[in-house]
């Protein structure tokens, strides 16, 4: 006589999906590439937050980083655009459907060089979207040229040193209007998860610059975007926790040790003080902190700037609540009487 053992119940999230539903195709990037770790975090966070993957639209440009949206959230729509132009495509898509959760994952070549103009104007518009820069300071697909985020003095494998100052995408983000600006490291699972979850619920543009070492072209001695360099120079601003609105967890608040940022949906980012007190809602201080870190050769990570008050571009355009894309004909084609009236005026 045999007994059938019921299989263990599948683990699901709050909307009944398994983590498998959040995975994508198998990565074709190099083993050990920082981008793969970022893909893993995206899968975990969207699963844990219980976001329906079909609500998400992924955007990217061209390069190793921009390939990665194929490797997570396979049930989402994805759009691998032209080099540097993910911001325009994402902006258009979100104008068409304001209910989409926009997730752009792109690189430092896209963001800081060929698409710098688009990046800056996306910041100015505060497009409600997550914008992750998988930042390795190097062009991988073309085999190892410096990108514009390579630090001054950082060396290529060939020994050539970068002689131009680095573009700091977080500084630009703060300066030009992004409303959640963070930096992280692909190797810091806990910190990046907290930031990404905050970005998911943030109503506005969240720019996350993630140092993501390129194991093939930029992980050697002398590189400032290597695993080893980050291990020694990572300077977290705070210890981060994210408390989603759907979890009723109270956080022990020790006076002067903990700050909280309450997001639009009631979720909270809990920031525990590490060393000096840091207020991420203070724009001037945020800019100063980034400059100080550059000067001292440290990489400042954590939530650098948060502004939950600035209206998004969708608000500013005063769009109807429903997606423009699917408005019925009677709401987008004016009446015969309206045309007749205009014709009369032109007589």
């Amino acid at each position: 006589m045999s007994t059938t053992v019921a299989p263990p119940p599948k683990k699901v999230n709050r909307i009944g999906l398994e983590v498998l539903n959040y995975k994508g195709a198998k990565s074709t990037l190099c083993a050990g590439c920082g981008h793969n770790a970022i893909s893993e975090r995206i899968i975990e966070c969207f699963y844990e937050m219980g976001i329906p993957p079909w609500r998400v639209a992924k955007f990217s440009g061209i390069g190793c980083s921009s390939k990665s949206p194929a490797y997570f959230l396979g049930l989402s729509h994805g759009f691998n655009a032209v080099h540097g132009r993910a911001p325009a495509v994402g902006t258009g898509a979100i104008l068409a459907n304001r209910n989409l959760l926009g997730l752009t994952v792109t690189g430092d070549g896209d963001t800081a060089s060929i698409g710098l103009g688009q990046f800056c104007h996306m910041l100015r518009r505060n497009i409600p979207m997550i914008y992750i820069i998988e930042d390795n300071g190097v062009y991988g697909l073309t085999k190892g040229q410096f990108s514009a985020t390579a630090d001054l003095g950082s060396k290529l494998k060939t020994g050539v040193a970068n002689e131009l100052p680095a573009m700091d995408c977080c500084l630009l983000g703060i300066e030009l209007g992004a409303t959640l600006v963070a930096r992280s490291f692909s190797g810091d699972k806990r910190q990046f998860q907290a930031i990404l979850k905050a970005a998911i619920v943030h109503q506005g543009l969240a720019v996350i610059d993630v140092v993501s070492p390129c194991v093939t072209f930029n992980d050697h001695e002398g590189s400032t975007k290597s695993y080893a360099y980050m291990k020694d120079h990572d300077e977290p601003l705070q210890q981060l926790d994210f408390v989603p609105a759907f979890e009723e967890i109270s956080v022990e608040m020790e006076e002067g040790e903990v700050r909280e940022i309450t997001m639009h949906d009631g979720s909270r980012i809990v920031l525990r003080k590490l060393g000096k007190d840091y207020d991420p809602t203070d724009k001037m201080r945020a800019v100063q902190a980034l400059h100080e870190a550059t000067q001292s050769g440290h990489v400042l990570t954590g939530v650098i700037y948060a502004d939950t008050g600035r209206p998004t571009f969708i608000d500013q355009l005063n769009l109807v609540d429903e997606p423009l894309a699917t408005l019925p004909e009677e709401r987008v084609r004016p009446s015969q009487a309206a045309l007749d009236e205009i014709m009369e005026e032109l007589r």
Binding site: H77, A81, R85, A96, A325
Partner: protein
């Protein structure tokens, strides 16, 4: 010359406010029932350079540019000498007296007007005199050619509207001053005159850009992204005005549209394609330099198969060229815009009505065939005022193409984005945000197979682009058909497109009258070409293709598409100086090539 058959040119300095005086003049003739067109020849400048406004009155209804000026109003000291020297003998000149132009030639009719002396008493405010002064020539012309004063008054009221009645009154004073001066001091010696007709009843006056804008509004466009560039700027600006008026939701006060001034043309087309991909009726408007910048994204739109409508209001030249002059110079580049193998549908409106209807056709084609569609107008059509029939209200519902909903996916279980299910080359798509686990697919500008998966396999690439070629064949069956006028006595055919039609229509009349040469006529309304073109070529011994570019761009496209035997019949007539092509140029060139 007779009544209602002459061209009047007003030469001024740009920024001097002559536009009001010129518009009122044109409108007055229109109100008198006389077929009329106005063409503004202006510099790429804000103030201080010569500008010419030409009004043609034609009892025959010819509305193309006429080469000869019959009546000149010379207000600009800088250009006056050259303007006068360029006139045909017997023409008339109204001029600012201090310019003393009457000594230049003995074969013209000169009418000196002391503009400064006349303006002072009717405009006490010295700062306004520069603007009001131009209205004096309206009054002078009213007397000299017979424009009814009451119509000028009505046109003024229309121009200024009820809220600026005071300004209208001030200008009316100047009209009267000019009229009175002419009555007392000028003896008419030229032959230009107007008399009331009934050929404009029910018609409207509108520029092509506003007509395209209205077409897009009534097509239900929802996302408009653009970057300012002459001569397309007024298309989006007038559209923004109409959208604010017609497309704010009554209940909520919110907008059913987004208009975004982008940071450049790359972003403008990128947003349009992103929005089209996500299901909006999206568009942008630009001109030559913007088309060049949109090249890469257009190729993406073609290859990933996202709809978008691009209005190209063509101007002259490569590079900056002549930004305020007209041409049909983007045809070839736009038909195959982007690297790699691409082909794009082009619609070719020739009139405000066609701007309106083809804007709607463009959105339908773009969504039904999931591809960027270009509406090729030009500066002449876009920025000049045209007499037009009123626009017909769209008779058909909006066509959104093959979009699968969540319910469809429930029924089908899934779909392959780039599979040719129906044999027309057009796959089914889903919109991002569709509430279904099977809705998602990965859109990529890199190689892909039927299921939108990454692929570098040669057979997948060939399979995909061959389907795109088939799709283009399906489009061929759906574009607006050419207008054909068959003359059974003619062995000669004339082909044209867009605004070139006006010169060609008039030229056919000239060829018939001057040389007894009978011609047939075909006006293209779209690329890809349809079977009517082949038929037309087969029926005629020689076919002249008339266009406004140096290299015969449409001709080159035909050589690419047609059988060599048919293409061998084609001959080329081209004008590319930046002014709208005129009938005489066409007639002379055809006569030369025919050995007449």
């Amino acid at each position: 010359m007779g009544a209602n058959d002459f061209t009047l040119q007003i030469a001024t300095v740009n920024g001097s406010g002559s536009q009001t005086a010129n518009t009122v003049l044109m409108r007055s003739l229109f109100q008198m029932g006389i077929p009329v067109t106005g063409k503004n020849l202006f510099p790429s400048n804000i103030a201080g350079l010569p500008t010419w406004f030409t009004i043609r009155a034609s009892k025959h209804g010819w509305v193309g540019r006429k080469k000869e000026i019959d009546f000149l109003v010379a207000m600009n000291p800088e250009s006056a000498r050259e303007d006068v020297m360029g006139l045909e003998a017997g023409s008339a000149v109204v001029y600012d007296e201090p310019l003393k132009l009457d000594g230049l030639r003995a074969d013209l009719h000169f009418y000196p007007i002391p503009f400064d002396k006349l303006v002072a008493p009717v405009c006490p405010e010295p700062k306004l005199r520069k603007l009001v002064r131009n209205m004096i020539y309206d009054g002078v012309l009213a007397q000299l050619v017979g424009i009814e004063l009451e119509e000028i008054r009505k046109a003024l009221a229309k121009q200024f509207g009820p809220r600026k009645a005071k300004a209208a009154e001030l200008n009316w004073g100047a009209v009267e001053a000019g009229f009175d001066f002419a009555v007392k001091n000028l003896a008419k010696t030229d032959t230009c005159r107007v008399e009331r007709m009934d050929a404009t009843r029910g018609k409207i006056i509108i520029d092509g850009n506003a007509a395209c804008a209205l077409g897009a509004v009534f097509a239900g466009a929802t996302v408009v992204t653009w970057y300012p560039i002459t001569p397309s700027t007024s298309l989006v600006e007038s559209m923004a005005g109409y959208l604010k008026r017609l497309r704010i939701d009554k209940q909520t006060g919110k907008a059913t549209f987004a208009v975004v001034q982008a940071e450049d043309e790359l972003a403008a087309i990128g947003m349009a394609i992103g929005a089209g991909w996500a299901g909006a009726r999206s568009m942008t408007a630009t001109s030559g330099p913007g088309i060049s910048l949109m090249s890469e994204f257009t190729g993406l739109g073609y290859y990933i198969e996202a709809p978008a409508v691009i209005f190209d209001v063509q101007r002259v030249g490569p590079s900056t060229g002549l930004p305020t002059r007209t041409a049909q110079g983007d045809i070839l580049t736009t038909a195959v815009l982007s690297h790699g193998d691409t082909k794009h549908p082009l619609l070719l409106p020739s009139s405000p009505v066609e701007c309106f209807t083809m804007a709607q056709d463009a959105f339908n084609l773009a969504e039904e065939f999931q591809t960027p569609v270009f509406v090729m107008t030009d500066l002449d059509l876009g920025m000049n005022n045209w007499m037009s029939e009123p626009f017909p209200y769209p008779s058909e519902p909006i066509r959104r193409g093959k979009v699968l909903t969540a319910a469809d996916l429930d029924r089908l279980g899934g779909f392959a984005r780039y599979k040719d299910v129906d044999g027309d080359g057009v796959g089914y798509r889903t919109l991002p945000g569709t509430d279904h686990a099977a809705a998602g697919f990965f859109t990529r500008g890199s190689g892909h197979d039927e299921k939108a998966r990454y692929s570098e396999r040669p057979e997948d690439y060939i399979h995909n682009v061959d389907r795109l070629a088939r799709k283009f064949e399906s489009i061929r069956g759906r574009v607006p058909l050419p207008e054909v006028v068959r003359n059974d006595n003619a062995s000669i055919g004339l082909i044209c497109y867009g605004t070139t039609r006006y010169a060609v229509e008039e030229s056919r009349d000239q060829l018939q009258r001057d040389f007894g040469l009978e011609t047939s006529y075909l006006r293209l309304k779209a690329y890809p070409f349809t079977s009517q073109l082949k038929d037309f070529l087969e029926r005629h011994a020689r076919v002249y293709l008339v266009e406004q570019n140096r290299d015969g761009q449409m001709l080159a496209l035909m050589r690419m598409d047609l059988e060599p035997g048919d293409a061998a019949k084609l001959r080329s007539v081209r004008y590319y100086g930046g002014l709208p092509i005129d009938a005489r140029t066409v007639t002379d060139e055809i006569a030369r090539q025919e050995g007449l």
